[in-house]
Symmetry: C2
Subunit: 149 residues, 2 copies
Amino acid sequence: MTVDPLAHPTSDDVAARLRSRGLRVTGPRLTVYRTLARLGGHRSADQVAAAVAGDGPGLPRTSVYNALKALADAGLVAAVDAGPGTALYEVHGHSHHHFLCRRCEALLDVPAATPVQDLLGLQLPGAVIESAQVVLRGVCPQCAGTPAS
Amino acid sequence: MTVDPLAHPTSDDVAARLRSRGLRVTGPRLTVYRTLARLGGHRSADQVAAAVAGDGPGLPRTSVYNALKALADAGLVAAVDAGPGTALYEVHGHSHHHFLCRRCEALLDVPAATPVQDLLGLQLPGAVIESAQVVLRGVCPQCAGTPAS
DNA sequence: ATCCAGATTTAGACCCTGTACAAATTTAGA
DNA sequence: TCTAAATTTGTACAGGGTCTAAATCTGGAT
């Protein structure tokens, strides 16, 4: 079993990453991370909680939220705002942005070929930009091909 | 009184814009739009509702939400996600993006000198990109100058 | 000028996501 | 092994937004 540099971090990687941020390595955090990685894509906290519950005793809702927050602080998980009251989480992989279709509500990944924060950072002297989230809205290619209802 | 091309749209402009989208021109929609324009900046739905109430009989909370949604559909108002469960609205003026300070929670405007959607649109062939929202996160210039607590 | 169909407003209850709290438990270093 | 501090857990709570159905209003047709 060779090491694939593109694969998700192993549990050991996750543990090291948490420790390096001064966060403790706990069961819920590893469970939530592994579940989110296995599910892939954009998932709500409750989707994660449901998936965790499907694998065994499950975790309280609050614990899933706590774990997601800790993982996000450690930079292992990214939170995406897909509208008010709709937070989605995903394992932090290669940088990309999001496109939200107004017609079918699909959430598509958009490659981040351009370093957006570099461009915009110039406009905000003195600020430390730690992350940039881009949400594009419009009509996705599939819906654009069919006439509006 | 000359026409200032940089001024907010008049009520007539707003009415025309609503009609062009197949939306009806109603009292609540005009009231909400005018109030948001008068307040300026980024406002929550409840802030708008409170301001409306201060001017007379007020509007039910639901009506404010409905109106904001209709105005957003018409492109007259922009909704900014400033984290989960925190939607802010602003009159859709010149394109700009937002920076959210992790330390003091300030929400700053960032000039959009670069046409972000043009850059990213290239990555999504066939899609109709109607808006691009960029939320930068980090530490604002003021907080960056003071040591962390 | 009046009418009508359909969109919109309104009022209320409701849901959902996330947070606050305090006690029990667990981690990690001594 | 032992201890202090971080974390988990269960419960309750809060804010923001949505759903529903009846009343009202808009805008085109008559």
